[in-house]
């Protein structure tokens, strides 16, 4: 098993053992800033070599996919799950957005397997952050759309930390190019996997602390958190196939679709849909779907891609 996943399990174990292990808040923030920048830079360096216009149709498809997911999940959550409108919309928004760390773990997994991927995939991560969140808010407020403050919302989403650092990293990588990036590579590229490992230790601590929330969530949500990722992965893979990605790229897009956001979405939904109970959305996203994806999901989607594309 990949050592970064072992760090995640160590974090979960520490929580279940009620250890006093805590990562300082400043370390958590530092690691997440680092990961977002590094993912962006790595993508940007490659992007410099691409004719950007050619990406436009792919980019639009990816954005539409992100916006579509909440509309697909909302009815399931509210009818099958009997969740209130705000709760159903909020959970749907988390799955519409994307988990940057799941993307990073999946990239590392494919790299290790020797599978090539489109170098501009980090751009899609940045594109996928927002649409799902906006769709979720629309769903929650559909009775009263005029109450949405679009300006504030757009600002929050597009100038939020995650999008800004991802896009900033991409621009820095693209401007500097492979040679320009060399002096900062020992920090941003060579240490990437190690930093990801540390971050997963923290994610394990957080996810482990979320397991009690699942009692509140109930059987339906646990099942939802286990089954949905695979369905969304198939959607992601289909989109990837349709827009002409390589098997590796389609696998990565599947992982993005299958993942649920736990940085941008919780913060945005807390402000935009206060009636939603964050214990439900975060419990299922972080307590079920995230661990499922990084342990079982990623290899599974990869195998699926191998079958589909051959």
């Amino acid at each position: 098993m990949d050592p970064v996943v072992l760090f995640f399990l160590l974090g979960i174990a520490a929580r279940l053992l009620k250890s006093d292990l805590r990562l300082p808040e400043a370390l958590y923030e530092t690691l997440s800033i680092f990961l977002l920048l590094a993912i962006g830079i790595k993508g940007g360096v490659e992007l410099a070599k691409q004719p950007l216009a050619a990406l436009a149709p792919q980019a639009i498809s990816v954005i539409l996919m992100g916006a579509l997911i909440p509309f697909l999940l909302f009815p399931i959550l509210s009818w099958l799950g009997k969740l209130s409108r705000p709760d159903a919309a909020s959970i749907a928004a988390h799955y519409g957005s994307v988990s940057v760390v799941t993307f990073a773990v999946a990239s590392a997994y494919l790299l290790k397997q020797g599978v090539a991927v489109e170098p501009y995939m980090p751009l899609f991560v940045a594109l996928l952050e927002a649409p799902g969140i906006i769709a979720g808010i629309l769903l929650a407020r559909s009775a009263n759309l005029s109450s949405i403050r679009w300006g504030e919302l757009a600002h929050e989403v597009f100038c939020g930390k995650s999008v800004l650092l991802l896009v900033g990293g991409i621009l820095i990588g693209a401007c500097a190019g492979p040679d320009g990036i060399k002096p900062i590579a020992p920090l941003f590229l060579d240490l990437f996997k190690g930093v990801l490992a540390l971050f997963l230790l923290e994610m394990g601590l957080v996810a482990g602390g979320r397991l009690p929330d699942l009692r509140q969530a109930g059987v339906f949500l646990v099942a939802f958190g286990l089954i949905t990722p695979s369905l969304l992965a198939m959607l992601g893979m289909g989109v990837g196939y349709a827009i002409g990605l390589t098997p590796g790229g389609a696998t990565l897009l599947a992982c993005m679709a299958a993942s649920a956001s736990y940085i941008a979405a919780p913060t945005a939904m807390r402000i935009a849909v206060p009636e939603a109970n964050p214990a439900l959305s975060i419990g299922v996203a972080l307590g079920i779907t995230f661990p499922f994806n990084i342990t079982v999901g990623i290899p599974l989607y990869h195998r699926l891609a191998q079958t589909l594309f051959n």
Binding site: L27, E202, P266, R270, P274, E275
Partner: protein
Amino acid sequence: MPTHARQLLVIITEAALEKNLIKAARQHGAQGYTIYDVRGGGQHGTREDSWEADRSIEMKVICTQEVAQQLSQYILTTYCPHYSVSMFIAEVSVLRPEKY
């Protein structure tokens, strides 16, 4: 030196509300505020993680009784129904009444 009676309104709540609370304080006439990061526990469970959705802040506003009353009332109706919020008011005295 004469001292002047003011009220100290203290609000302990989710970090996500920081920007909104600063705005609300200014709108209700507070001339300043002080914030720091805390951890804690209450009705809604413990909030002790370094993770963004689990951070808490404590906000202090020194102000007139009127401002304290209106601001706390506003927070009570706007945020208390859906957010973890603790609030209390203490009587304090200040030396420069024009500042608060």
